[in-house]
Amino acid sequence: MIKDNKSASGDQSYVRDSGNAENFSNHANNIVSTTVVDSYWKANVKLLLQLLVLWFVVSFGCGILLVDVLDQFSLFGFKVGFWFAQQGGIYVFVVLIFVYAVRMKTIDKNYGVDGESSSKNGD
């Protein structure tokens, strides 16, 4: 589709029309082809959709839409729906972000886009 010839030369720079001299070109040692970008992106989107489904089920599902149903059950001093809405939902959010960060690290590595080969100290 777009600029497959560019990946062959390993140059992903694009020229901005705002007249700035800066560019977004990758380091020469970080060559990533467009096809790799596309399949890497698919893997990323698949993972984050799975996590967002969980995010929705826990917060909007258990904490809001099903809260009255779940409130019929109690766990210690909590009604279950109330617990999800004021405590549990927040714990799950934290877990979801760390699962994403860890799983993405593996995916980055598998596709060779984890930046391990680039300079560590930036500028």
Binding site: I2, K3, K6, Q12, S13, Y14, V15, R16, D17, S18, G19, E22, F24, N26, H27, V37, Y40, W41, N44, V45, L48, L51, L52, W55, S59, F60, G63, I64, L65, V67, D71, L75, F76, G77, F78, K79, F82, A85, Q86, Q87, G89, I90, Y91, F93, V94, L96, I97, F98, Y100, A101, M104, D108, V113, D114, G115, S118, S119, K120, G122, D123
Partner: protein, 591 residues
């Protein structure tokens, strides 16, 4: 030592600490000033993000709001934490890879349009100033209640401190100060919460105490006990909701999307070294935020319980000393409707009008006299929700140093958020308006000078807001989230996840979301406030939740318009590919 002296000592020490950090972390370049050179460790950035995000409102108001809303208060708990999932998965890593300084930077570049950039700047300034006004009110409350100084002087002292570390250090100074402020504010929040939890439930961890049995020997769970007391007094049970499900859904969604679209939060993720750090950092930020946000519902329950038990049916002359002290601030008032000399607490507002108007002289029991018309119900107590956090250490009879600590914590929360907001305002003026739009030729040094000037001007304006708080402050908080949700978030998201989205679509979408949300809120809050009831709302959604509909409209309009207009240039497709791959973020912007 008395509370006043201890408060002076605590606040004085924290101020010296902030100034020391400012001197140590002076900014040398625009990159230092705007994004701390992208060299901040993810954990430190997480702390700074948490302090940046948790404002005076989070520290002082959230537990109070929940204490009086019960289960409906969940909208704030889920709404103000769930947004971080969206941020970590959908925005932060890609914006970090983009590697520029501001949110309008991204919108301007991705949509190859100065118009888009300027629209984004306008949204950003509006959102941020709305927010700052609230912080200044928090500073004013802490100073007037705890130090007994005039609000004007209090605001000026607070502003002076922010001025030094924000103008000197820019993002670098602000980041390290915020990390320190996080430690102070969370300590100040947790210490009284733990004490009160032990008193009420016997558990040191408030999150567990909330679900435990009370220590009063009744064998009842804390929540069941509160439900029982409230229903006896004629209130709804604490764990039942009264708002409609669709409204709770919309408000939660608007707050989540709004959180993810807040410029001063997004820009924090520009400061970490790598894309993977941005993901991790969002996780750390949420851990630090969750500590406070899972404690708040416990504080809410404990303080409501303590409050009712210590005032209801008690003769005024026998109330603990905190009651009289808080009457002096005007946040608490009592009117003896049945002339029995005792305080009766019941549903409904005790007074007509939004707050008590005190008149000279004392009532028969020695209470401050109130000039308002009395409401025809049995409730005799006016109580401002903000008291619940500020006064619960006193209600529970905690030592003086805990009370002084809460004052220092409240100030840390207000100052850290104000500094973060001032920075995004000044950055968008010096960088987006001057450097990128009006005066493209200026040097790095000049830009840095303008950034410092802009922060000083913004600070001056914020101080004016603090000293002369506009009457509409409380009314417009819904604006900040509604507008962030309806304008910025959808355009940034589509800019990353769609290669087809073009400038026509983005501008049309932003304007639709902005105008719709703005008009809806203005209509119900200012034009026809008497119609602000569920039967008049669109689909039963309140102005607080309408940003969710605004965001949906933004998506729909942007998609429709872009499909009828030409594709973005190929350079933009390359930019999208560039931000989607994590490689090489450190070298993304070399001078």
């Amino acid at each position: 030592m008395d509370v006043q002296t201890l408060t002076y000592i605590f606040i004085g020490l924290t101020f010296v600490f902030y100034l020391a950090i400012a001197v140590w972390s002076k900014a040398q370049s625009t990159r230092d000033f705007y994004v701390a050179s992208g060299g901040v460790h993810p954990v430190i950035n997480g702390m700074a993000t948490a302090a940046d995000w948790m404002s005076a409102a989070s520290f002082i108001s959230v537990a109070g709001i929940i204490a009086f809303m019960g289960r409906d208060g969940s909208v704030y708990l889920l709404g103000w934490t769930g947004g971080y999932v969206l941020l970590a998965l959908l925005l932060a890593p890609y914006l970090r890879k983009f590697g520029q300084f501001t949110v309008p930077d991204f919108i301007g570049e991705r949509y190859y349009s100065k118009v888009a950039r300027v629209v984004a700047v306008i949204c950003l300034i509006f959102i941020s100033f709305t927010y700052i006004a609230g912080q200044m009110r928090g500073v004013g409350i802490v100073f007037s209640r705890f130090l007994g100084v005039d609000i004007t002087i209090g605001v000026l002292i607070g502003m002076g401190i922010v001025f030094v570390y924000a103008v000197l250090g820019g993002m670098k100074g602000i980041t390290y100060t915020q990390a320190a402020q996080y430690c102070i504010l969370i300590f100040a929040y947790m210490v009284p919460a733990i004490f009160v939890s032990i008193l009420v439930s016997g558990w040191a961890i408030p999150q567990i105490g909330l679900g435990a049995e009370t220590t009063d020997g009744s064998g009842l769970y804390v929540l069941d006990r509160l439900d029982g007391i409230l229903t006896d007094l004629g209130f709804n049970a604490y764990t039942d909701g009264v708002r409609s499900t669709i409204d709770v859904f919309a408000i939660t969604a608007a707050l989540m999307i709004g959180t993810a679209g807040l410029p001063h939060v997004i820009v924090r993720f520009f400061t970490v070294p790598k894309v993977s750090d941005a993901r991790l950092s969002a996780g750390y930020a949420l851990v630090f935020i969750a500590i406070l946000y899972t404690t708040a519902p416990a504080v809410a329950v404990f303080s409501r319980l303590t409050f009712i038990e210590s005032v209801h049916n008690r003769p005024y002359v026998e109330t603990p000393s905190w009651f009289g002290k808080w009457e002096e601030t005007g946040l608490l008032a009592w009117v003896d409707k049945n002339n029995d000399g005792a305080i009766q607490y019941a549903p409904g507002a005790a007074l007509e009008g939004s707050s008590p108007v005190f008149v000279d002289g004392r009532g028969l029991s020695g209470q401050r006299r109130v000039g308002n018309v009395l409401s025809p119900n049995e409730n005799e107590v006016y109580i401002d929700r903000d008291i619940m956090v500020l006064a619960h250490p006193e209600m529970a009879g905690l030592p003086n140093w805990v009370i002084a600590l809460v004052a220092a914590g409240g100030l840390a929360a207000a100052l850290s958020t104000a500094a973060g907001l001032l920075l995004v305002i000044s950055t968008s003026v010096s960088h987006d308006l001057l450097k990128r739009t009006l005066m493209p030729g200026i040097s790095d040094r000049k830009e840095l000078l303008y950034a410092r000037l802009a922060i000083a001007v913004a600070l001056g304006l914020a101080a004016v807001f603090g000293i002369y708080p506009p009457a509409f402050v409380a009314q417009v908080v819904a604006f900040a989230f509604g507008l962030a949700a309806a304008s910025l978030f959808p355009v940034i998201l589509m800019g990353i996840f769609s290669k087809r989205m073009n400038k026509e679509g983005a501008i049309a979408g932003m304007l639709t979301g902005l105008v719709f949300t703005f008009s809806y809120i203005v209509y119900f809050k200012f034009v026809a406030p008497e119609l602000n009831t569920p039967e008049h709302w669109f689909l039963g959604i309140s102005p607080e939740g309408i940003g969710f509909i605004g965001a949906l409209l933004n998506f729909i309009v942007a998609t429709a318009v872009s499909s009828g207009t030409s594709s973005p240039p190929s350079s933009v497709q390359d930019l999208v590919n560039y931000i989607r791959t994590p490689t090489g973020a450190e070298s993304g912007r070399m001078h």
